[in-house]
C-alpha cells in the first residue's frame, strides 16, 4: 500500500505543482478557472487513452515510441509555457494591478489564453497515463487490490494537496511581485521539462549524452520526494547528462531574453 501511495503521489505531484504555479501565475485572468478545469478534465481523458494505447505507442520507432512520445509532449509543453510566459510579460502589469483590487471583478479585458487549458491538459496527460497504467495493473493482479487502491487514492489526494499548498503559498506574495516570481518559476519549470525531454531522447539514442557532469544522488536521490519536488520545480537531476544541461540552459536563455525583449519594446513608446 505504501509503495502504491508513493508511486502515485510522485506522478500526481508533478502535475499538481505545474497546475499550482500556472494558477498562481494567472491570478486575476478572467475565465482562468474554467480553462484549468477543462485542461485537467481533458488531461485525465487523454491519460486514459494514452494508457490504453501504451503498447502501440511503445512499438513505434523501433521500440523507442515511449521515449519519443514523452519527449514530444514535454517539448510541446515547453513551447506552450514559453508562449504563456511571453504573454504574461506583456500583460503582467495590468494583471497585477487588477488582481490587487480586492473583490472587484477583473477588467483587464485579457481573455485567458486557450493555451492554458492545453498546457494543463498535457501536463496531466503525461503524468496521469502512468498512474492509469499502474492502477490498471493493480486491478489486473486482483490479490491485494483493496489496499493498493487505498494507497493510490491517498497518493492522489496528497499530491493535489501539495500542489494546492504551493498555490496558496504563492498567493501570499504581494501581487506586484507575484508575476515576477511566477514568471521565474515558470521559466525554471520549462527548463526542467526541456532537460527531461533531452533525457528521453538520450535514452532512445537519438541524442548523445555528452558525458555525465556530476552525481549528487548521495545528497538528494531522483526518486526521493524531495528529489521529485525539486525535479519538477527547478529541473533537479542527480546525475545530469551534458545534453540535458544544454537543453536546460538554452530554454532559460531564450525565455529570459524573450521576456526582456518584450518588456523593453512595450515600455519604449512611453519614453519617447
Amino acid at each position: 500500500m505504501l509503495s502504491a501511495l508513493i508511486i502515485v503521489f510522485r506522478e500526481v505531484l508533478e502535475a499538481a505543482l505545474v497546475i499550482g504555479i500556472v494558477c498562481a501565475a494567472t491570478r486575476g485572468v478572467r475565465g482562468r478557472g474554467v480553462m484549468v478545469t477543462l485542461g485537467v478534465g481533458a488531461g485525465i481523458v487523454g491519460a486514459s487513452l494514452v494508457a490504453l494505447g501504451a503498447e502501440r505507442i511503445a512499438e513505434l520507432a523501433a521500440g523507442m515510441g515511449q521515449e519519443l512520445f514523452n519527449a514530444a509532449i514535454l517539448l510541446t509543453v515547453v513551447v506552450m509555457l514559453g508562449a504563456h510566459i511571453l504573454w504574461m510579460s506583456r500583460h503582467g502589469e495590468a494583471l497585477a494591478r487588477d488582481a490587487g483590487r480586492a473583490g472587484e471583478s477583473v477588467r483587464t479585458g485579457q481573455k485567458p489564453p486557450r493555451i492554458l487549458a492545453a498546457l494543463v491538459g498535457l501536463a496531466v496527460l503525461r503524468e496521469g497515463s502512468e498512474v492509469v497504467l499502474f492502477l490498471y495493473g493493480i486491478a489486473a493482479s486482483g490479490v491485494t487490490a483493496a489496499a493498493m487502491f487505498a494507497g493510490s487514492a491517498a497518493g492522489i489526494v496528497l499530491g493535489a494537496l501539495v500542489g494546492f499548498a504551493l498555490y496558496s503559498g504563492l498567493l501570499t506574495i504581494p501581487s506586484r511581485h507575484l508575476f515576477a516570481v511566477s514568471s521565474a518559476l515558470l521559466i525554471l519549470l520549462a527548463a526542467g521539462m526541456a532537460g527531461q525531454a533531452a533525457k528521453f531522447l538520450i535514452q532512445a539514442d537519438y541524442l548523445p549524452p555528452l558525458g555525465y557532469l556530476w552525481d549528487s544522488s548521495w545528497l538528494i536521490r531522483n526518486d526521493s520526494v524531495v528529489g521529485t519536488v525539486l525535479a519538477t520545480l527547478v529541473g533537479y537531476e542527480a546525475e545530469p547528462a551534458g545534453t540535458q544541461v544544454l537543453f536546460y540552459l538554452a530554454v532559460i536563455g531564450v525565455l529570459v531574453g524573450g521576456t526582456w525583449c518584450v518588456q523593453r519594446t512595450r515600455r519604449a513608446p512611453a519614453h519617447p
Binding site: M64, I138, S141
Partner: protein, 108 residues
C-alpha cells in the same frame, strides 16, 4: 545552438546504421523478478536489452547506473538501448516491485 542542431542531425543520420547491428540481450520479468538477474554485456558496445514482462502487472525497468527508466505493461516486451559502457557492474530494478525485482548488468 548550431552545435546542438548539428549533433542532432548527425545522430539522426548515423542512427539507422548503428541500430541494425545492435546485439539483443533477452531478459524476462516473472513473479516480479528478473531472469536472469545477472546479464553479461560486452564493454564499449551498444546493446539492446529486450525485456519481456510475463507478469500481468506493469513494471518499470529502472537503473540509476544506466540512466534508464521505462514502463513495461503486463504481458508486453520493451526494448531498452544501453551502452557503450565501460567495464563494471550496473544495477537495475523494477520500480513497482523493488523488494524482489533486482538485477545487475555486468560489463566486461
Amino acid at each position: 545552438m548550431h552545435k546542438i542542431l548539428g549533433l542532432l542531425l548527425l545522430s539522426l543520420l548515423l542512427a539507422p546504421d548503428v541500430r541494425a547491428e545492435t546485439p539483443e540481450i533477452p531478459l524476462v520479468i516473472k513473479d516480479h523478478r528478473f531472469e536472469p538477474a545477472t546479464v553479461k554485456v560486452p564493454a564499449n558496445t551498444k546493446v539492446m536489452l529486450v525485456v519481456e514482462n510475463r507478469d500481468a502487472t506493469p513494471e518499470e525497468f529502472e537503473s540509476h547506473d544506466l540512466h534508464r527508466e521505462k514502463v513495461i505493461a503486463g504481458g508486453k516486451t520493451a526494448k531498452i538501448r544501453v551502452g557503450p559502457l565501460k567495464p563494471g557492474t550496473y544495477k537495475f530494478f523494477g520500480e513497482f516491485h523493488q523488494d524482489t525485482a533486482q538485477g545487475v548488468v555486468v560489463v566486461e
